[in-house]
Symmetry: C2
Subunit: 223 residues, 2 copies
DNA sequence: ACCTGAACACCGTTCAAGT
DNA sequence: ACCTGAACACCGTTCAAGT
């Protein structure tokens, strides 16, 4: 796994494949076949190289995904951050949500512990903005990190559910079939309405509610 | 995939393997080798049968996991539900969290759209309790479903992150290495403290904050 | 009706060897 | 230094055939 910006003294066979080409091929596979089909072997086939060659340019599959995420983040323009600190938190969390919404596979890699240390600066401004907003609201540093983590859990959970729901057959009706009405009256009452209700996007409102709750818990006597 | 409780007129070769034996074997594999190792082939090997035989008793891998979840839920005792409706929401969500915390693989299957319709009654009382609590707090039915979904996203997100963090090498220090201090001052200030802060369990407090936020948003003028 | 091995169409990763 | 095919150790699932 050589660095592209290696020191002067190069020797040996010149590279035929660059890291940039690998990332480009990965993007092509994702765009054409969907991210489930992005495998090391298929990527190699796309580039017309041996599967093993890929391992000379990226450490492993996870490394490939992290590189792809950082590249994507670098290309995504940052939204304007409002003056209101709560607004900044909301805008930053929504930016995470929107970015990952189109790339649900990224969420998979981003659940790993310490993932945040592997991200580059363009991907980290969102975390910074959330910390900044929470601190300006009066949170301690630890509380601000808690706010970030809690919003992260919520956001990633929503994306996972959305990701595994899309591309599935529409749930059949009757929905709660054979449910015990006396034991589960409310679920029975919702019944076939469930799929309809569950298809609504509630992230923006849920996020707002969560931010309110987190801040008022952290600062019970705020001005 | 024959039903165990099939009607009287049975003919042909008697079954050597039952669905119950399959689930038992699956539990053994999970307990001994970890859930990542629960594959159809390994399960068959555990039982000393051909991999293809498994498909006579369960539809596919996902079906196997759903059966396992329903079995687990049936064995888990239900906690006492407090009289306070908010308390009921918290207790039910915490029960989901605790149950899935030990079975992170279940979360994978439970993100699928319409998964809730495939659960049996013992697994559904938690959803019922959350709806019940929200309705008693004055929510409409749609709002109550929103409360459930939002808490579900948060809970499943926390479990995913926890699951992929456990069993990993402890993140190296310095944590945010080579970070741009002028661009990301708060992240730089947290620095090596991040892994310590991130290892704290914040689910209970986050849940409480979220419930507060959701209910006060749904009922702005509540008594 | 139930069970089977063989086969299909894949995975990620390592290793010794070639250029 | 870079690239390779072969190999290792797996996957889920289907299908035609056996008992």
């Amino acid at each position: 796994m050589p660095r592209s910006n290696s020191p002067q003294g190069r020797t040996g066979r010149p590279p035929l494949t660059s890291r940039a080409q690998i990332l480009e091929g990965a993007r092509r596979v994702i765009d054409r076949d969907g991210w489930e089909k992005l495998t090391v072997r298929r990527l190699a086939a796309e580039l017309g190289i041996g599967a093993t060659t890929v391992y000379h340019h990226v450490k492993d599959r996870e490394d490939l995904l992290i590189l792809l995420i950082n590249e994507k983040a670098a290309q995504t323009p940052r939204p304007e951050l409002p003056a209101d600190p709560r607004g900044r938190i909301i805008v930053a969390a929504t930016a995470i949500h929107d970015t990952l919404g189109g790339w649900p596979w990224a969420a998979e890699v981003l659940t790993a512990d310490g993932f945040i240390a592997r991200l580059d600066e363009p991907a980290l401004w969102m975390a910074e903005a959330i910390l900044d907003g929470a601190l300006e609201c009066g949170c301690t540093r630890a509380q601000a990190v808690d706010v970030f983590r809690n919003l992260w859990y919520y956001t990633i959970g929503e994306i996972f559910v959305r990701a595994s729901s899309s591309g599935r057959p529409v749930p059949k009706t009757p929905f709660f079939d054979g449910i015990d009405e006396s034991e589960l009256p409310h679920l029975a009452a919702v019944g076939d309405e469930w799929p309809v209700l569950a298809s609504r996007d509630i992230y923006p409102e849920g996020l707002r509610a969560f931010v309110e709750g987190l801040l008022s818990q952290a600062l019970p006597e705020a001005s």
